[in-house]
Symmetry: C2
């Protein structure tokens, strides 16, 4: 479940009370502790590394703060000069705490379930770097993409290199699968989807495929575009083994459009966990029926919402396990 | 062009320097002045009433402020008690300034171009009332929709009545077409789209169809869902004459899926106006080609962005006129 280690768990909030979000990300013991909590407490089939997609930006040279209202970058990147100053970091030094967390989590899991690592996709990281945080209309992003395409491509190239190197390092540290998170890949037209988010996600995937550790263990690569519905004709061409599907589209429609060559992951509305356990079970059953019996990894369509009742998460997990076993 | 009277125009900013946004909405002379500016300056084929979708909420009993950072509702509606207290206003008194603006604009236009009125769709208005402003994840909205569906329906019912009455009054005051704006209709799964945004938009459309002034002049009804791609199989069933299409989906795909019984409006990315005039022309040509020669109203896929260069808007208008004439 995306963002399965998080604010909806009392045991997470207990850790968070003692450390800032960034400290948690950068302290391997704490990242390990909260990564394991949902596995121990709720019985998920896979662990997801506790981290944040923005963790690569400080390593590239940007000053990022994580107040509760959402991340803020002190000096957004909006000129060619600022883009040229960004570095492509060596993750083994610049992101060492995250890689150490991966090793500790792997030991803590002791083979119980696989561990999924992740990083932000190039276009999504571009939006944060350029906007300086979240955005309503992505005006600065679009000013760069459409008003100064060469600079946009220069930035995306650095972000793609950073993403690929970080994910490869996560695999070397022990991750059993990696996810490329394009939270804001869905803000553009279908033509621009091919030109920007998809193109650079493909580069990351190609680089990973060529990496010895990924090759040796045949590590699955997941690509997730939040708001994928407009791009289904192109989505499968990413080269990923698994495509993430948000909750706004029927997973049966996605299957029809992307064909049978790729697994799908999703797609319950995180907000549906506010419904009663009985209603949650009905919605789980509906998704399982639409997804069919093979090539589907049940998941939320995006991160779990902070105010979600853990007992409702448990109801979801139970429903998925029981209804999948029955099928 | 959506939000065609607005911050990108120097003449608008000159008016705005003298009055708050809400004062502009509520002062017929000012609303009239800025509505006519883009017609006089840029040569659009239709005028769009200067107003705001949130204008109905104070009339229903909510305290709304419009700071530059985005609208804020002092006491969001999150309980059945708060929902039951909301009134369905009589627009002829509660929204009289907007209706007077419509009459003044019609006189100012003197038949040059038609005038399009609008109101927020029920689900979109629910999100503002419940969240108290914009939102990243619509957690409060989903808590109400899925956690307390009867209360959600009670609120949507009041919002649908308000929307229908306000649009009917705009038609009585002289509007030649009306648009139902579902800016946040696209935050739900396809099943929930039918249950919530579409269901209540249909109610508004049915009520309008039955209204004498709408019937007498056969006033076209436009329904716009921002992020419509996941719902194309249901979108045409709204009963609207025209469906708005945002920029994230190919308008040719929309046409294939909704059939030939409805006109389409859209769908240039507002951010594409940051591109060069030559690139804007290329993108306009692409949309015109995809949309085909009939049943298409060229428009942006959402509101124009504040920092847009008016000369780029002019380039778009020129391209649309020249390339349509040639077709």
């Amino acid at each position: 479940m995306m963002r399965q280690a998080g604010r909806y768990l009392p045991s997470y909030r207990a850790v968070r009370a003692k450390a800032s979000f960034l400290e948690m990300c950068r302290t391997p013991e704490l990242a390990c502790e909260v990564t394991l909590q949902p596995i121990d407490q709720l019985g998920f089939d896979a662990a997801i590394l506790f981290s944040d997609i923005l963790i690569t930006l400080p390593a590239m040279g940007l000053d990022v703060a994580f107040p509760d209202a959402g991340p803020k970058i002190a000096t957004p990147v909006r000129t060619r000069e600022a883009i040229d100053k960004l570095v492509v970091p060596d993750p083994t030094s610049a992101l060492a705490p995250t890689l150490e967390a991966v090793r500790q989590i792997k030991r803590g899991l002791a083979g119980r379930v696989p561990l999924i690592g992740f990083a932000g996709a190039p276009l999504t990281m571009l939006t944060y770097a350029v906007e300086g945080g979240g955005s309503k209309d992505y005006a600065h992003t679009k000013k760069l993409l459409y008003g100064d395409a060469p600079s946009a491509h220069a930035l995306l190239d650095k972000l793609a290199q950073t993403c690929a190197a970080f994910l490869a390092a996560q695999v070397e540290a022990g991750c059993d699968a990696v996810q490329i998170f394009d939270s804001w890949g869905g803000i553009v037209s279908p033509g621009d989807f091919r030109e920007y988010p998809l193109r650079y996600a493909k580069r990351v995937i190609e680089a990973l495929r060529a990496h010895p550790a990924v090759k040796a263990r045949n590590v699955p690569i997941i690509y997730f575009v939040n708001g994928c519905a407009p791009y289904l004709d192109d989505y499968a061409s990413s080269g990923a083994d698994v495509l993430g599907v948000d909750w706004r589209v029927g997973i049966d429609e996605v299957r029809r459009r992307v064909g049978d060559g790729v697994a799908l992951q999703g797609n319950l509305d995180p907000g549906a966990l506010f419904a009663s356990p009985a209603e949650i079970r009905t919605r789980v059953a509906d998704i399982l029926a639409r997804a069919g019996q093979t090539g589907h990894i049940f998941n939320l369509g995006h991160g779990v919402l902070p105010e979600t009742d853990p007992e409702h998460v448990r109801a979801m997990v139970t429903a998925v396990k029981e209804l999948s076993a029955r099928a």
